[in-house]
Symmetry: C2
Subunit: 539 residues, 2 copies
């Protein structure tokens, strides 16, 4: 067989930056980004990215350097997701709710050369800079005229983002990465156990994630997409890159609230958005005065924690069609989705909601998902009952943990990525996540899925948010302890809640204690169970 | 920056075979292939492919061996597009209308180890085997009970396809190609000038072609796709692989006719199909008794020769929404598509047809399309007038021409693939193909686009098919000569045709001779201009 080497003609590095270049040339005047009174066409966005590339060069930032970004979902955050990959720098988004010591750790560990930050975060950044071990990065401040934080006099040694941009010109001479395996992003995990780990993404994976989400979510040309998922979380699930591919319009959102989402859907004709189940909870629990009617069904992708069927059912009744997905920071976001089967159209709403609470099947870009028995390492039977750990193999699994080959090796044992999530496989092959490995409660030798008990709690009309964690117990080892945040004006008793669960669950799964309080949540809306586990020891 | 090598966990060869494996597991019972009274679910198709892989192994076919296939668009043709890539053998589809000496040339040149052939082609194969220089391949005959060619007694030394398949079992132990750059297909060009050239495709390109066509054509989940494009032509534009990705249903078609298409659209609710402009011509010129009404708009992808606006307008009126694409065998099929812009919705039907007759802009998977001035090699201005040669760069450009490094080098000059097609670039960046380089007529120093003159001829109500070729002329060097196939019962005179053109074209562009006859066409419906050029010398 004659064989030919790869050439510049027929082998081009896969990178999502290509999507922007193409779309700005085909749809120059279509809206790319809308944020209140600011809006940019695809051409304007591209020009700002070209300026940014040149400005980065002039700042001495080189290909492969890390640029940290601590921003809300404002236009700067979107454009940096293109400009940095075009330049060849690595985008390191920082969770905007982190404390100073964690920010300092990330800046030190990533070796960031530059930090682009919203002025709102001056206090935490000043504190972080004082804590850093390594030389401080250059600081570029984004001043958002539409926020409450727009002090024209910066308190730290910095230039403004617009000053920085103005140093660059718009010559179009950026180049594709030399290798599609080159790093595009560095995303730190939430670090609920120990120090955050730096997850490395490559251009190839980001390209495939954007392209593969289109058939997976049925995304048409020109969607109107509300960016309610923080872009600091798995690069906003890669949706910004997908929007460039389908020439959509991205509606920015500085602060997520039920009112902001309902207003955008009603006034901007939003067609798609994403959000953690807690966002769905916000929507269904919003006051009637904030809930607005809209004529089209809005497509919603949700991920983060398994949303209880009751939440899915109520969300559907409001006009949102929710597709649940599953993934991790280590997999660029979603690798599993609850792909709809047409026979399910005939089912009752509540039965549909039960199906939608499953995570589903692998995306087209994901090569293999297995649920492996924790003891034998063999795939569990598809019986809907036997639990195992989800493992993943495919082109959207991270390169590894930055500066941590040991942790990388441990995560990649047996040629698959170990998710640390426990699931069952249903008869039809759809997987259902039962828990984080470390959230499973072991009571008298029996495993209790905290998710299963939480799903029951969410059926109670007074419950807004709920979490079940393990509480040490002399007799049983561990017992389930419930933490509940109630809907305004509702005040059930612990006895009522326990009785409600007992009527629906086996005795050993029923919570032994119930605590009513506002639940601690992460920036992405996940309930911080690790904090609750600590508190549960006191009861 | 820490860097990590590719591992089995996070780097998986891109191959369209993955789509089949995924879809058969998620939608096992959905129909994959329908052919008259035969139909296969995705699971059944997969099982036949597994059997085929094992049967190939038992026949001694190894990874990298060439298997030639000379079949109509029957279920065997579809399944071999999956089974051969799963096995690792290279699929070499042979145009079913080729003569024995060309078939012999292809079998010799490709080094085919095996030939899978429809029994209809026994005569040509027997003749080809006699002409071969190299050892003959093993012959496997497909006997199609739904055709007129199903003689149970094979005349050549062969086994039947079903006997062959029965030797394989359905154990699921095939593996991905070791490298996504490995060859998946070997497709010979039509060889209008000299010997056919063998174009090599790799798995990576086939994967990206399938995935990138989804946003480019707006393909939803579960389309009902009529396979009217021969699968021997650029592997049916890669649509079979795309159908596996979106779990569509492929409706096979042994023989394309207007009646067969209208019947399938009306009875099988076809949503998508593809075809050369000649197929569109068949549809609009079909007798009223064959044309059938249908309620949905059917999406049609067309390519091959630029369809005249008049044809596009009439097709649209019948309920077909045509998207024109452009590409070559060397680019896996389409790399340019006439992507719709919403402001065009407001235009009149005829203006829309004029736009649709442009080829358009690059697909998301194509990195760069340029139209380069033939003399300077610089991009032509976007003025809709200046012509140049289309050049292409991207991951769906062939690896090269099999056993022909010289021709490969020539095609790849300047780090782009040279298409040999002449086009202009309109102000909005959409390209419009004017001609094959070799079809341009040079008359008195002026270039005449044969396509432009043909578009005028197609406006004449008596014209069914038309071709303009160069005729040698003592005074002008060359002059345009028209070959016309009339609609039944229409008999215009040459003078009428010339006057019709003269009223609409510059004098030097007006045909000097008009010949009325049935036009010679290739298997894919292209008019064989090379044959007409020879004939034009006689007038």
């Amino acid at each position: 067989m004659t064989d030919f080497p790869q050439t510049k003609v027929n082998h081009v590095a896969l990178t999502p930056a290509s999507f922007l270049k193409r779309t700005q040339s085909i749809f120059p005047e279509r809206l790319a980004v809308v944020y209140g009174n600011r809006q940019y066409s695809w051409k304007a966005l591209y020009h700002r990215c070209l300026q940014c590339v040149d400005a980065l060069n002039k700042q001495g930032i080189a290909r492969g350097d890390v640029v940290s970004v601590m921003l809300h979902n404002t236009p700067e955050m979107v454009e940096l997701h293109f400009a940095l990959p075009m330049h060849g720098a690595i985008i390191n988004t920082i969770n905007t709710r982190l404390d100073a010591s964690t920010v300092a750790y990330i800046l030190d560990h990533s070796g960031a050369k530059c930090l682009i930050v919203d002025q709102q975060f001056q206090p935490v950044i000043m504190a972080a800079l004082a804590l850093m071990q390594q030389p401080a990065p250059q600081i570029i401040e984004v001043i958002d005229a539409q926020s409450d934080y727009n002090d024209p006099i910066p308190k730290i040694d910095s230039i403004t983002y617009e000053e920085f941009l103005a140093t660059g010109d718009t010559q179009d001479n950026w180049s594709l990465p030399p290798d599609e395996w080159d790093t595009i992003a560095l995303n730190y995990t939430s670090g609920t156990s120990g120090k955050p780990k730096g997850v490395l993404y490559h251009h190839r994976g980001a390209y495939l994630m954007a392209m593969g989400t289109i058939p997976a979510w049925g995304v048409p040309q020109h969607p109107r997409y509300l960016y309610s998922v923080p872009l600091f979380h798995c690069n906003g699930w890669g949706h910004c890159w997908m929007m460039a591919l389908v020439a959509g319009t991205i509606y920015c959102l500085r602060q997520v609230s039920a009112k902001a989402i309902f207003d955008a859907v009603a006034e901007q004709n939003i067609t798609h958005f994403g959000g953690a189940p807690i966002v769905l909870g916000m929507l269904i629990n919003a006051p009637k005065t904030e809930q607005r009617a809209f004529s089209r069904t809005v497509q919603v992708m949700t991920a983060g924690a398994p949303p209880p069927p009751a939440v899915l059912e109520k969300t559907g009744q409001l006009g949102f069609n929710v597709m649940q997905v599953y993934g991790l920071t280590e997999t660029y976001g979603h690798v599993v989705h609850c792909l709809w089967q047409s026979p399910w159209d005939e089912l009752a709403f509540s039965d549909q909601a039960a199906i939608k609470s499953r995570q589903g099947v692998r995306l087209p870009i994901c090569e293999d998902i297995q649920v492996l028995d924790l003891e034998t390492g063999k795939p569990v039977p598809a019986d809907g009952e036997t639990t195992g750990e989800i493992t993943i193999r495919g082109n959207t699994v991270m390169k590894g943990y930055h500066r941590d080959p040991e942790a990388t090796k441990k995560a990649f044992v047996g040629d698959v990525f170990h998710s640390g999530d426990v699931a069952v496989v249903h008869e039809d092959g759809y997987i259902e996540v039962k828990d984080r490995l470390k959230d499973v409660i072991i009571s008298g030798g029996e495993n209790i899925s905290s998710v299963e008990v939480e799903a029951i709690l969410y059926q109670h009309p007074a419950v807004a948010h709920a979490a079940i964690v393990a509480q040490p117990d002399e007799k049983w080892g561990e017992v389930p302890c419930a933490f509940i945040e109630c809907i305004a004006d509702e005040q059930p008793t612990a006895q009522e809640i326990i009785a409600f669960c007992r009527a629906r669950l086996a005795g050993f799964k029923t919570p032994k204690n119930v605590v009513f309080e506002t639940l601690p949540k992460t920036a992405t809306g996940k309930i911080q169970k690790f904090a609750l586990r600590v508190r549960a020891k006191d009861f």
